[in-house]
């Protein structure tokens, strides 16, 4: 683990029209390189909004998001996209695999978007998530847990600095969820990336280095026993 902040958030605010209060209200926090941070919060607390702002797929009303020293809020839409393509990996609750691409092709997509057509890393990762023999299958042939493991491979394949996992176990049974999260944290640590996980799960939170809770638009760091 390095001490340089990989992600630095300052005064981040996001309001939605017609909502009486901001969903994110002047958030400040940092995630160091190689660190795994869990963000706990109820449904609707703004976890997904926070992740979307960090990934640059939504625009903040105020504040800054800096990833690896680059302030995303100062970049154009296009530059944010290109930055995301190279430096950020995403794992979603609903897997979001493309149904018309095979397992291998889904996992290779970020590499190809970056102009890299090599498949060595894709195969290595698929083997690591236990799906080497399903490379040519389409997503509708996989179980939910298997689909999420493909999504994990896809999030890591291009060696991003930061991985955002939004409720990655929310749509899985306990056993599949545990296996998926273990793989995600192991592979993240192995590659020295930082991981931010939004979750309801205490089991998932226990795997994190730090736990933040998001409530009423404010973020607080939990230092004591987890009592969710």
């Amino acid at each position: 683990m390095t001490s340089d902040p990989r992600l630095h958030i300052s005064g981040l605010t996001r309001r939605f029209p017609d909502a009486p209060h901001p969903v994110l209200d002047r958030l400040d926090f940092a995630v160091n390189g190689g660190e795994i941070v869990a963000v706990l919060g109820r449904s609707g607390s703004g976890k997904s909004t926070l992740f979307n702002l960090i990934a640059g797929i939504d625009a903040a009303d105020a504040g800054s998001v800096s990833v690896g020293g680059t302030d995303l809020t100062r970049l154009s839409e296009r530059d944010r996209t290109l930055f995301r393509r190279r430096r950020i990996g995403f794992v979603y609750q609903f897997f979001n695999l493309i149904p018309t691409l095979t397992v291998e092709e889904n996992a290779a997509l970020p590499l190809e978007l970056n102009g890299d057509r090599s498949r060595g890393e894709v195969r290595r990762l698929l083997a690591a998530v236990g799906l080497a023999d399903r490379a040519d299958d389409f997503p509708d042939r996989l179980s939910g847990g298997e689909q999420q493991r493909v999504a994990i491979a896809r999030a890591l394949v291009h060696h991003p600095d930061l991985i955002l996992a939004d409720e990655p176990t929310g749509n899985l049974d306990a056993e599949s969820g545990e296996r998926a999260i273990q793989l995600l944290t192991d592979l993240t640590r192995e590659r020295g990336a930082s991981l931010l996980i939004a979750t309801h799960s205490l089991a998932v939170s226990r795997l994190a280095d730090r736990v933040l809770t998001l409530e009423a638009g404010r973020l607080t760091e939990r230092t004591g026993a987890l009592a969710w």
Binding site: T49, E77, R78, T81, N96, I98, P99, L101
Partner: protein, 829 residues
């Protein structure tokens, strides 16, 4: 049920764009069908009314040679007791730039034949009889008269001043008919002392009696038969128009089906949820059908209203074509025929319900959870594609074989065309799946593969969309190739027949035909023209054959004229020798087709010496008349008909004399003559003829444009829905780092790919459609044969149209996708 109704309504409102496109698609399809039908109906009715006015209450006519017959016959008949008779002279004059039909009658004998005369006041009738040059006009005609009732008219190439004696009440929309005393008409039409026909009211027993009183060359004809012949002339054109409207109907129906079915497929998940919470299959079907009925009814009402407006435009084009080719007809307003409205309206609602019914029934029958699963739908669609191919291929085969089995049936031609198109449409999904499967092996790159696989993976959407686009583009290709082939054939034919350098004829009343008569002085003047090597006269008249009136063309059978006959059947050398010797005639291709004449057969014609039989030596190509022409040598014509006149002259330039010089000399000579003449070069006639040809096909081109428009709306609806449906997938790509521009390109590529597949299907299908239109429908309607010519640009145009339509349809969703923040689309699960 109240909640279900609310749900149905809110869905339509929430998806405003899709609902509007569905409505527009249905409305356009219905409008085209209604408009063509109204134009056809209105022109048919106008033709009927004109014929009613001309025939009046006559049961029979006495008709004779082309130049008419001596008026003394009328007096003789009356003296012999044929009292229910009225003499008629009929022709055309031009007043104020319009062609008017002039009917010369005997007002005293007429009242029992024509209601117009009966309703006219006595003073006007008296003026008609006692003041030479007086005419009765419909109220519209009065605007051409000055304060003193004078009207300037052109008749037979001369300018005459007429006097408006009064107006008659123009009932039933006939407003291009002038009535004159017979003496006035004879003078105006240069037929002094002659009659064109005598109208009779005879009982069956009197017919033989009257026939026995007639000299050779004259006979009694049933009014119905004569009328039927005229109606038949325009019928082939209307049939062809009907073919175009059926094509539009088929394309319209396909697109309405596409749009509506697509909407239902998109809501399968919702239908599954409704089933899961306890809605019965029946309720689900009723929900979908209720929505479809609402859209179908609204779209149909809009379509019928649009059809009335469009019908007016089409009617003007149809009437112009009928006037150009067949019969001087004046139609000023669309007759709102309930049948036309019912046809279009019925099509709109029925196709909408059918389109909604099939997928709704399927969605209601399967288990609720299965309905929600897209993979189940695609698997079913995959099986459906196989079934489509199994059904489609035999349909195409039957469509190709049917015209051979029912050799002369036009209906079989229409059915064949429909079967081929439906069959091809049914084959498309399998083809799309195949292209998707092959493409995914060939194409490199993950995003490229995703685009190609999207074709087969989303077959429930892409299959219908590609089939609809392919059908629409193939209809366009088919009509384009047919018209181009026709034009090339007509141009070649004009090249062959226009063997002279300069042509002289009186102005015609029907643009495509020379039907006037040259003054004898004209012929003499042109024979003496400097720079002329030879002058050949032609005579074009209508004579009676055993099976009704037929056009007769008499030409001087010299080597110059031989080239004008492109022989399609018959031994050329011996046929020409027999023709030149006056021993045989040639029959034009349409005449041979309609009356089943082959070389070696004989045709009977009524000559001034009585009925004569002529051997047919050959069949020749002639696109000038679809009713058919008998061509014979001038010498035999002169022997058998007492008609020394010419209809037109062909001048051949002397060696070393440029055509322009001859043309200038001829025009100078014509200017000195009292008869107005049209003097045109070979080249001018060719371009005028092709201009008439192009004008004839204006209506076809308008219909083709409308078909493309219907297609564009349908495809826009389908493709935009398809892309909007993939919003989440696109948002994911954006979150993975695809830029807005990249996504725009990606969506564009996907829609272009659909267009490309549709275009590739449309090219062969369009050529087959053209082949059926040419070889089956045109041949059976008009009797013309022509070679299929596929202009090299057509495949490229078809691809451009298909890809262009698809791209145009894809631009909006691509733009929308590129602009939508991915976070928003990802949240909208």
């Amino acid at each position: 049920m109240k909640i279900l109704l609310l749900l149905a309504w809110r869905q339509l409102v929430r998806q405003r764009l899709q609902s509007a496109l569905t409505l527009l698609g249905i409305a356009l399809g219905v409008a085209v069908v209604v408009a063509v039908d109204l134009a056809n109906e209105s022109s048919s009715r106008a033709l009927e009314r004109t014929l009613d006015a001309l025939t009046g209450t006559a049961t029979h006519h006495i008709v004779g040679p082309p130049r008419g017959f001596d008026e003394a016959l009328y007096l003789r008949l009356r003296l012999q007791g044929v009292r229910a008779s009225a003499p008629v002279v009929e022709g055309f004059i031009r007043i104020g730039g319009e062609t008017w039909r002039l009917l010369g009658i005997d007002p005293l004998a007429e009242s029992r034949f024509r209601p117009q005369v009966e309703s006219t006041d006595e003073g006007a009738l008296r003026r008609l009889m006692v003041e030479p040059g007086s005419v009765l006009a419909p109220p519209r005609g009065a605007r051409h008269a000055d304060a003193e009732g004078r009207m300037v008219a052109e008749a037979g190439g001369r300018t005459e001043v007429l006097r408006l004696a009064g107006t008659y009440r123009s009932n039933a929309g006939i407003d291009d008919l002038l009535l004159a005393d017979i003496a006035t008409a004879q003078t105006l039409l240069d037929r002094v002392g002659r009659l064109d026909r005598i109208d009779l009211q005879l009982s069956a027993s009197q017919v033989e009696e009257v026939a026995a009183m007639l000299p050779p060359g004259l006979h009694v004809e049933e009014a119905e038969a004569r009328r039927g012949h005229t109606e038949q002339l325009a019928r082939a054109f209307q049939i062809n128009l009907r073919a175009m409207s059926l094509l539009a109907l088929l394309v319209g129906a396909f697109l309405v089906y596409n749009t509506v079915a697509f909407g239902v497929i998109r809501h399968r998940e919702l239908l599954g949820t409704l089933r899961a919470v306890g809605a019965t299959p029946h309720q689900v079907v009723m929900l979908v059908m209720g929505q479809a009925l609402l859209m179908g009814t609204l779209g149909t009402v809009l379509g019928v209203l649009g059809g009335l407006v469009l019908g007016d435009v089409l009617l003007a084009l149809v009437t112009r074509t009928i006037n150009d080719l067949y019969f001087v007809l004046s139609v000023r307003e669309v007759t709102v025929a309930p049948g036309s409205l019912l046809l279009g309206g019925g099509m709109g609602v029925a196709v909408t319900l059918l389109a909604a019914g099939i997928p709704a029934r399927e969605a209601a029958r399967v288990a609720p959870l299965t309905v929600q699963r897209r993979s189940h739908l695609e698997r079913r669609t995959g099986r459906g594609a196989l079934i489509g191919a199994v059904v489609g291929a035999p349909l195409i085969l039957i469509g190709l074989l049917l015209p051979q089995l029912a050799e002369r049936s036009l209906l079989a031609g229409f059915v064949a065309l429909g079967l081929i198109m439906i069959g091809a449409g049914a084959l498309v999904p399998l083809l799309v799946a195949g292209i998707g499967a092959i493409g995914s092996r060939v194409v490199r790159g993950v995003l490229g593969r995703r685009a190609v696989r999207g074709l087969s993976a989303g077959l429930s959407r892409s299959g219908i969309a590609v089939a609809a686009l392919a059908i629409a583009v193939s209809a366009t290709v088919g009509v384009t190739v047919m018209v181009d082939s026709f034009r090339v054939s007509v141009a070649d034919w004009l090249e062959a027949i226009l063997v002279g350098d300069v042509y002289v004829a009186p102005p015609g009343t029907v643009s495509s035909r020379v039907d006037g008569t040259l003054d004898p002085s004209v012929v003499e003047r042109f024979r003496a023209l400097p720079g002329v090597a030879a002058v050949r006269g032609t005579r074009r008249v209508e004579v009676m054959a055993e099976s009704g009136p037929v056009s007769l063309l008499a030409v001087e059978a010299v080597s110059h004229t031989r080239d004008r006959f492109t022989l399609l059947a018959g031994e050329p050398e011996s046929a020409w020798q027999a023709f030149r010797a006056g021993e045989a005639v040639f029959a034009s291709e349409p005449l041979a087709f309609h009356r089943r004449i082959e070389p070696g057969d004989r045709i009977e014609l009524m000559t001034d010496r009585g009925m004569r039989e002529f051997p047919v030596a050959a069949i020749y190509r002639d696109y000038g008349s679809e009713a058919g022409v008998v061509a014979m040598g001038m010498s035999i014509y002169r022997q058998l008909w007492d008609d020394p006149d010419h209809s037109s002259l062909v001048l051949y330039a002397a060696p070393g004399v440029p055509t322009d010089t001859l043309l200038a000399n001829a025009r100078a000579a014509a200017a000195e003559l009292s008869q107005t003449l049209e003097v045109r070069s070979n080249e001018a006639i060719r371009s005028v003829s092709l201009a008439i040809f192009d004008r004839t096909f204006t209506v076809t081109r308008v219909l083709r444009l409308l078909t493309v428009l219907v297609a564009a709306v349908g495809i826009f609806g389908a493709l935009s829905a398809m892309q909007i449906e993939r919003a989440r997938e696109h948002a994911l790509l954006r979150s993975l780092g695809v830029t807005p521009g990249g996504l725009f390109l990606l969506v564009g590529l996907e829609t272009a790919l659909l267009g490309l597949v549709a275009g590739l299907v449309a090219i062969p299908l369009g050529v087959v459609t053209a082949e059926v239109l040419i070889d089956v429908i045109n041949r059976r309607a008009f009797g013309w044969s022509m070679d299929l010519v596929v202009p090299p640009a057509v495949p490229l145009e078809a691809l451009t149209l298909a890809v262009g339509s698809a791209l145009a349809a894809g631009i909006y969703p691509a733009w929308r996708m590129a602009r939508t923040p991915p976070a928003l689309a990802l949240r909208e699960e």
